[in-house]
Amino acid sequence: MTAMRRFLASGWLSTYAFLYVVFLYLPVIFLPIFSVNSAATPKFPLSGFTLKWYEDLPRTPALLDAAWNSLVVGVSASILSTVLGILAARSITRYRYPGRRAINGLIMAPLVLPEIIVAISMLLVILQLGLSLSLFTIVLGHVLICIPYSMTVLTAGFEGFDRSLEEASADLGESAFGTFRRVTLPMVAPAIISSLLVCFTISLDEFIIAFFLTGTEATLPIYIWGQLRFASKLPGVLALGTLLLAASFLLMTIAEILRRRAARRTQNEGGLHA
């Protein structure tokens, strides 16, 4: 106990915490740093500050196409997986039936499956079905890997939802659909938005599945992969990567805030002894 206290007092713990964070974020920090470096090769010492790599981005038609494709795939995948997630999360939190835990486990499994295996299997199935590879097949793949995340966020939103709220609504004359629209949906809205944002972010950043399942159209990560073959394009890739990183951070932060708000809201309602 005293040893622990001395350890804390000596500042070793804060040093450890500092190194921990450095290990996590140092590689990520290099990206924005080199993206504003005027030299074409990412090397220290830095040669000078420039924004020209960013200015070049909107002047690259292939990149704009890729961004548009990513947007389409991300929006579709996030909506689809959130809708499926709502249904599954509600069933799992609301009803008791045999195999409930097993089903929950199976839905969460893609989280730990190697992505490359998932990608190859999906490719095989899609080819067997005779579908041609397109943005649509990427959406299918992304829905598969997004559902576990969507489920996690939504289950937290649905959990602790006082069932008597829905009964009260029915008691006051509202139909089942009206109850869902006027009570259930508004109460879990923050969780739903949070799920949409998380899924969109995952889809936006995902490479392996998109790489396997795309036809001729590239999403942003595939575009970046293609650009890496040309050394001269590297600074542009770094600039693009920085933007993706910033967008992901922003979306995930908003999602987390909303998720917490949803959890607080449903917990408040449990306030039988308030």
Partner: protein
């Protein structure tokens, strides 16, 4: 046994509002409710009283439409409720958790059910205001549900149900989450509110004092069965069996032998109280020669000094418990297997009787209740 006068209940009529006919509810092999039959009258404040798991909440939820009987029939205001979902029944409920919508403010909560009626805006506003006034929440309409105290949430739940002008208001343990003082205050208020609006109230509670204080009539339930339906006074003074007697306050039980039984009365032989003639309870079913005689602790009075009474028993104080305004004495009576418990007010010094004192207790033979064994 004459019924206590209830003439002052202005809204109460003899017209049946709720009829429960041979209702049974099974959950697998568990009988939550077993062949219950009951008639609740229009304008009545009716309580379903019993320990947890006795089926009272199951019955209430079946009236509301959240559960359905396995067999039997429920009708409200002459109309069978079979196949009618909760949202189309003329009943409204106050939930135990209050179920206040947390994303709406007080006004929006109260107006929730009115929205479907598509009233004119001014009419809707008027009814919401009226309902809030009924539960003394005027001026709090804009408050968020999360900013309310437990008592206020309860009032919102009441207003939200009353604003629908239901034929029957169902209350599921509405006071159980409140502290003692607030609970007692709300008992009085609920009773007053019911008298004012004249709506039939059905209250579920496990608190016998709550049921006694508020109800016109009470149904006492045990293990899915209705044991007794009567006015609070009759339930308290003339319980049909030991279980009911025990659940409603304290009762001394004395073993008795049936000497004579005829239409209206019983003659019993007991060790402590000698030969006793009592009214025969309506539901009395003889079970061999044995019966139980009961007397409430507060119906035994300590006889001071040389005072005498026509009916008395003598014994020795073995325990004394002080409760402020009253004292509990445990008095051993020769011949009785269990000592009697006696509740005496403290104005004459019952709190000063030393343990070990020999005392005499007076009783009124009217207070003796015969119960089937």
């Amino acid at each position: 046994m004459p019924k206590p006068p209830q003439a002052e209940r202005s809204h109460q009529t003899e017209r049946p509002m709720i009829e429960i006919r041979n209702v049974t509810r099974n959950y697998g092999s568990f009988k939550a409710l077993d062949d219950a039959s009951l008639t609740i009258k229009e304008g009545e404040f009716f309580s379903l009283l019993g320990p947890s798991g006795c089926g009272k909440t199951t019955l209430l939820r079946m009236i509301a439409g959240f559960d359905n009987p396995t067999s039997g029939l429920i009708s409200v205001d002459g109309q069978s409720m079979e196949g009618i979902p909760a949202n189309r029944r003329p009943t409204n409920m106050v939930f135990q958790s209050y179920a206040i919508f947390p994303h709406l403010n007080v006004e929006q909560n109260v107006a929730y059910g009115l929205k479907r009626l598509r009233l004119e805006r001014s009419e809707e506003k008027r009814r919401v205001e009226e309902a809030l006034a009924q539960v003394s929440l005027t001026g709090l309409g804009k408050r968020l549900a999360t900013e309310l105290s437990g008592g206020q949430r309860q009032r919102v739940a009441l207003a939200r149900a009353l604003v629908m002008r239901p034929k029957v208001l169902l209350l599921d343990e509405p006071l159980s989450a409140l502290d003692k003082k607030l609970r007692e205050q709300m008992q009085v208020e609920l009773r007053r509110l019911q008298q004012a609006v004249g709506i039939t109230f059905v209250l579920v509670t496990h608190d016998q004092y709550e049921a006694l204080a508020m109800s016109d009539r009470i149904a006492v339930m045990f293990g899915g069965r209705i044991a007794q339906v009567a006015s609070p006074k009759e339930i308290y003074q003339r319980p049909v069996n030991r279980q009911v007697a025990d659940f409603l306050g304290g009762m001394n039980f004395v073993k008795a032998e049936i000497v004579e039984e005829n239409g209206a009365s019983l003659v019993l032989d007991t060790l402590g109280f000698g030969r006793v003639k009592t009214d025969k309870p309506r539901a009395f079913v003889r079970n061999g020669g044995a019966a139980t005689l009961g007397i409430r602790p507060e119906r035994l009075r300590v006889l001071w000094d040389n005072a005498t009474a026509k009916f008395e028993v003598a014994g020795k104080v073995v325990e004394r418990h002080y409760f402020g305004e009253i004292t509990h004495l445990i008095v051993e009576i020769p011949g009785l297997e269990k000592p009697l418990s006696v509740t005496e007010t403290n104005d004459f010094g019952a709190d000063d009787i030393p343990v070990g004192t020999s005392i005499r207790l007076a009783y009124d033979p009217e207070a003796l209740v015969a119960m089937a064994d």
